[in-house]
């Protein structure tokens, strides 16, 4: 199993550009999550999904959108990138609501 994979690993965006951060898991997990980690801080939940077709907002959803059309994939869309979205983004999944498997992260720099 590859576990949780994220692409790209690093990206530089210009202010106002858009992009999609990809997340995929091959463990047939129902629950998937997007977190962001600002420098020297803990992770904050952006969006989560409890199954295909079901998504909901976390603590910091503004400026982001998600979709969950399949069990495996949970992409995060940034529209009109802003410097405040400079962060490291982590995707995570779990079979139940318990132990999370985290991806390696995507580092995003908005200039």
């Amino acid at each position: 199993n590859a576990g949780v994979t994220q692409t790209p690993k690093f990206r530089i965006l210009k202010i106002g550009q858009s992009m999609t951060l990809q997340c995929a898991q091959d463990m047939n997990h129902n629950y998937m999550y997007w977190y962001r980690q600002d420098p020297g801080m803990g992770l904050k939940l952006i969006y989560y999904s409890v199954g295909a077709g079901i998504t909901d907002k976390g603590e910091v959803p503004n400026g982001y959108n998600v979709s969950r059309s399949t069990t495996e994939d949970f992409p995060l869309r940034l529209e009109l990138a802003a410097p405040s979205q400079t962060s490291v983004y982590f995707c995570a999944s779990s079979y139940t609501r318990g132990v999370k498997y985290f991806g390696p992260g995507t580092r995003l720099l908005v200039l």
Partner: protein, 117 residues
């Protein structure tokens, strides 16, 4: 709303010594879980240990153990026989339990631990 607080931004310990990282949390829930995650320089999030609130016995995983004080809402992590590979940022995290739980984790700010040779 639940909050998690780690009051030690940075700590250091000599190799082979013991260190304790502090975590306090605030919740009105009676059913919940607590976790410690390790984040080495690679940035990978690694689960270190997990504690169910309904269990009185403190969780242990090899050199890692917790001191769970439910009444005081305290959840500290003890690392024994510290190794250079323990150098990392450590996060305390809270998760609600029960049927309405969606698995969302609430993280503390983190403690950077340096193990010195």
């Amino acid at each position: 709303a639940q909050t998690v607080t780690q009051s030690q931004p940075e700590m250091s310990v000599q190799e082979a010594e013991t260190v304790t990282l502090s975590c306090t949390y605030d919740t009105s829930e009676s059913n919940y879980y607590l976790f410690w995650y390790k984040q080495p320089p690679s940035r990978q999030m690694i689960l270190v240990i997990r504690q169910e609130a309904y269990k009185q016995q403190n969780a242990t995983e090899n050199r890692f153990s917790v001191n769970f004080q439910k009444a005081a809402k305290s959840f500290s992590l003890k690392i024994s026989d510290s190794q250079l590979g323990d150098t990392a940022m450590y996060f305390c995290a809270f998760m609600k339990g029960g049927s309405s739980n969606t698995g969302k984790l609430i993280f503390g700010q983190g403690t950077t631990l340096q193990v010195k040779p």
